[in-house]
């Protein structure tokens, strides 16, 4: 009985350590209606996610799967720039996370997120 309880204890300690949340660390920049944090003064790659699912990189409408290639190209041109993802208030989080993921795959780790009221 005691052995059993001790085993249970060890088991729960181990599983509790393994249950780790995974996430994307992002910064926050002000914009639109919610302007709490100040943006950085350095330049950045601008990406806009619209409510209807359109993604705009560098003023061109692109597919979600093309975000990575575009970011890679811009990153090669301006290696010190971070990325600024501005999402519409009504845009879906799934798409936003997908875009952030693509940006990070494209080599830009410094991603900040903001919203616009459009």
């Amino acid at each position: 009985m005691l052995d059993f309880v001790l085993n249970l204890l060890i088991f729960f300690i181990i599983t509790a350590v393994f249950v780790k949340e995974v996430g994307l660390r992002v910064e926050r920049h002000g914009g639109g209606a919610t302007g709490a944090a100040g943006g950085k003064s350095a330049g950045s790659i601008s990406i806009v996610v619209k409510a209807d699912g359109e993604v705009i990189v560098d003023n061109r409408v692109v597919d979600v799967r093309a975000v990575r290639a575009n970011v890679e190209r811009l990153h090669a041109q301006k290696p010190e720039w971070g990325a600024m993802v501005t999402a519409s208030q009504e845009a879906e989080t799934g798409l936003l996370v997908q875009v952030i993921d693509q940006v990070r795959l494209g080599g830009v780790q410094n991603v900040s997120v903001g919203t616009s009221s459009k």
Binding site: M1, E21, V22, G23, R25, V26, A33, T93, D101, L105
Partner: protein
């Protein structure tokens, strides 16, 4: 004499050994101490977005969940947008090294996510991550 020996033998048998029970209770105590202080669960399940570059957050022990209908859940109960900041402040005081993971549903609105992230920052925790699942097979 025989009956007396029998009686004394019975007397020894009826004494209860408390040591195993104490061990047991002690283990239970340790178990509950450990499980309660680990992760501040959000209390609901959400459909997480998939991301290939998602990394495990070692200190991400405070979870805030956002549902598609705009509900915010933290610490196993539904909270109002105005409650997020005081709750974060309280949890930040209890364990200052903890960071927050906002687990937003795939269909939740980005505006709500941004608003919650602002409230968390105002609550004193600067490091906020957006929850995701690692995309399978990558």
């Amino acid at each position: 004499m025989r009956s007396r020996r029998h009686a004394s033998h019975e007397g020894e048998d009826t004494g209860i050994d408390l040591a195993p029970m104490l061990d047991f209770v002690f283990n239970l105590l340790i178990f509950f101490l450990i499980t309660t202080s680990f992760v501040r669960e959000a209390g609901i399940t959400v459909v997480r977005p998939e991301a290939t570059t998602a990394l495990p957050e070692q200190t991400g022990n405070i979870l805030v969940a956002l549902r598609p209908n705009g509900e915010i859940w933290m610490d196993r109960r539904q909270v109002d947008m105005r409650e997020v900041r005081p709750t974060i402040e309280r949890l930040h005081l209890e364990r200052p090294e903890d960071t927050v993971i906002v687990i937003a549903d795939k269909a939740a609105k980005a505006g709500l996510l941004a608003q919650v992230m602002d409230e968390i920052k105002l609550g004193g925790i600067k490091e906020v991550a957006v929850g995701a699942t690692s995309a399978a097979g990558q």
